[in-house]
């Protein structure tokens, strides 16, 4: 469903992604692991056009997400067209990025109503369902400041879900959390993975990768080094760099 082909991305002279290619099928959960600075976040940010790529193709259901091809060049689409595709891709950030001036429920319905033009009552009703799913139905009227880190991240997940995206990208969703809050977020994510949501998850949580991922991608220095099932990557890594990394985190 999401296809990344030979994506190259540099910041100034620093080449951060060196011809990265992989594919994610519908309903699949793919975990991306790798050392700090290897380009994991950059991959996700390129997929939903938070970063502009140098070259390559990124498609959602075989449609280019932010560009169109024209005489051998990629031409940027207009804002409206880009956003029209972006809205089908949810994103959950390490730092939650909830809107602090809105209540939890307002956070959830802002985009469905404002972007998709849904009826407020409909978006609210579904929003409450998602809040129930993440275990926070009693926090609908709370402001983000009153929530713990784990609760904030669960709200962020519910906010992404309430746009009814085709896939959600997670960038280290538990890295900013206190240890005792990590599990409540991972539980929700495991439930989503089981429920058939398409997910790309950048994570340092090897336990989660082992349990919930269909495939694990190991990245190092802007390249995909090894891809396999969780068992293959985490228990029987073939590449020396994968072996070293896995050894260091387990």
């Amino acid at each position: 469903m999401i296809k990344i082909e030979k994506v190259r991305k540099s910041f100034g002279a620093h080449l951060v992604l060196k011809d990265v290619s992989f594919e994610v099928a519908k309903g699949e959960t793919v975990c991306i692991i790798g050392p700090s600075g290897s380009g994991k976040s950059t991959v996700l940010r390129c997929i939903n056009r938070l970063e502009v790529i140098d070259s390559g193709r990124i498609t959602l259901n075989d449609e280019l997400i932010a560009y169109r091809e024209n005489e051998g060049r990629l031409v940027e689409l207009r804002e409206r067209e880009v956003l029209n595709r972006i809205k089908d891709l949810g994103m959950v950030f390490q730092g939650f990025n909830l809107f602090p001036h809105m209540t939890v429920l307002q956070n959830l319905i802002e985009a469905p109503v404002g972007v998709k033009g849904e009826k407020r009552s409909l978006a609210t009703e579904r929003g409450r369902d998602y809040l129930r799913m993440v275990g926070l139905e009693d926090k609908a009227e709370a402001y983000p400041v009153m929530l713990s880190g784990g609760q904030k991240q669960r709200v962020a997940i519910a906010r992404a879900l309430n746009m009814e995206p085709q896939a959600i990208l997670f960038d280290e969703p538990t890295s900013a959390l206190d240890p005792e809050n990590v599990n409540e977020v991972l539980q929700v994510m495991k439930k989503l993975a089981k429920g058939g949501l398409t997910m790309i998850v950048v994570t340092h949580e090897m336990g989660f990768a082992r349990e919930a991922a269909d495939r694990v991608i190991f990245m190092d220095d802007g390249r995909i080094v090894e891809v396999g099932t969780p068992n293959e990557i985490l228990s029987w890594p073939q590449n020396a760099r994968t072996q070293a990394f896995v050894k260091s985190v387990l």
Partner: protein, 295 residues
């Protein structure tokens, strides 16, 4: 200590309290000099106040007579109106100035920077004089496409740019430069994650600004609005050079007739301070409300 027991591990030495020792509260010794300095300060103030009140040249009856008089009251109202309009102009233009300075378009951002540089650089009184006299130099403005003969209509400047309008336009424009910088600071203080999250939800630039960035930036901006308003109130005293009707000009006009200059200046001073005194609790209230749902 109290009766609460602490579970002590045998491997952690020295963590139990010594029950036999006595523990004293901290005693803070006050310096006797602080008393002396305070007393002297009060005496000096009392002396100055006594001198003022009993001064033979100071007719307090005149002060009281004019304090609530009709002309002074209408002057007060003009000053408040002038300042409120100027603040509104400053705020509205300030948003554009801030957006202009943050624009990706290099022409726009440079023009905006130049605008701020000029309007903050020129003394307010010079700007007032320019706006007050502009009708003499540009009697009509022709609306049309520059450097062509296409004209859509013309505006007779003097008809619209009355001294009152010129006053608040001048004050408002000067304020817009300051306001623009304040707003820009507020906008830039918002974490980039907010913009990214909104973008990832499919929101367009204008919508992100309106619904996500501006409401949060306002919380940084609103507290300084009060300060700006008091600055404008004070700056509004300068409008006497082109117009008048304001508090200070009215007071001075009365003084020109009754020769009680000091008394009339005191009347004006009383009202300037009164406005500020009313302002600050309002300002506190607004600050408190804007902070209520802070991160």
């Amino acid at each position: 200590m109290n009766s609460e027991t602490i579970q002590t591990h045998p491997s952690a030495p020295g963590s139990a309290n010594d029950e036999s020792a006595t523990y004293f509260p901290v005693y803070k010794e006050k310096s006797r000099w602080s008393f002396v300095v305070g007393t002297v300060a009060i005496l000096i103030l009392a002396g100055a106040f006594y001198g003022l009140v009993t001064n033979q040249n100071m007719k307090w009856s005149v002060f009281l007579e004019y304090l609530f008089s009709g002309p002074i009251m209408s002057g007060l109202i003009v000053t408040i109106e002038l300042s409120a309009f100027a603040l509104a102009v400053g705020l509205a233009l300030g948003i554009f100035v801030a957006l202009g300075r943050m624009s990706d378009n290099i022409v726009i951002s440079n023009i905006s920077a130049f605008y701020v540089w000029v309007l903050r650089g020129l003394p307010a009184i010079v700007q007032l004089l320019i706006w007050g006299n502009i009708g003499l130099f540009v009697p009509v403005i022709v609306l049309g496409v520059p450097f062509t003969d296409i004209a859509l209509g013309e505006v007779r400047v003097a008809t619209y740019l009355t001294p009152f309008v010129a006053s608040f336009v001048a004050l408002g424009l000067a304020e817009s430069a300051y306001m623009g910088e304040i707003i820009r600071g507020g906008l830039q203080s918002i974490d980039s994650g907010q913009r990214e999250a909104a973008f990832a939800l499919g929101m367009r630039r204008g919508r992100i600004l309106r619904r996500i960035i501006l409401p949060q930036a306002m919380r940084a901006i609103v507290p300084s609005l009060g300060n700006q308003f008091s600055n404008i109130i004070k700056a509004s005293a300068l409008v006497s050079v082109i117009a008048g009707g304001d508090l200070l000009t009215t007071a001075q006009n009365i003084a020109g007739q009754n020769y009680r200059v000091m008394e009339m200046l005191f009347v004006a001073s009383f009202w300037y301070l009164a406005i500020l005194a009313v302002m600050s609790p309002v300002q506190h209230l607004i600050e408190k409300r804007t902070r209520r749902m802070d991160r």
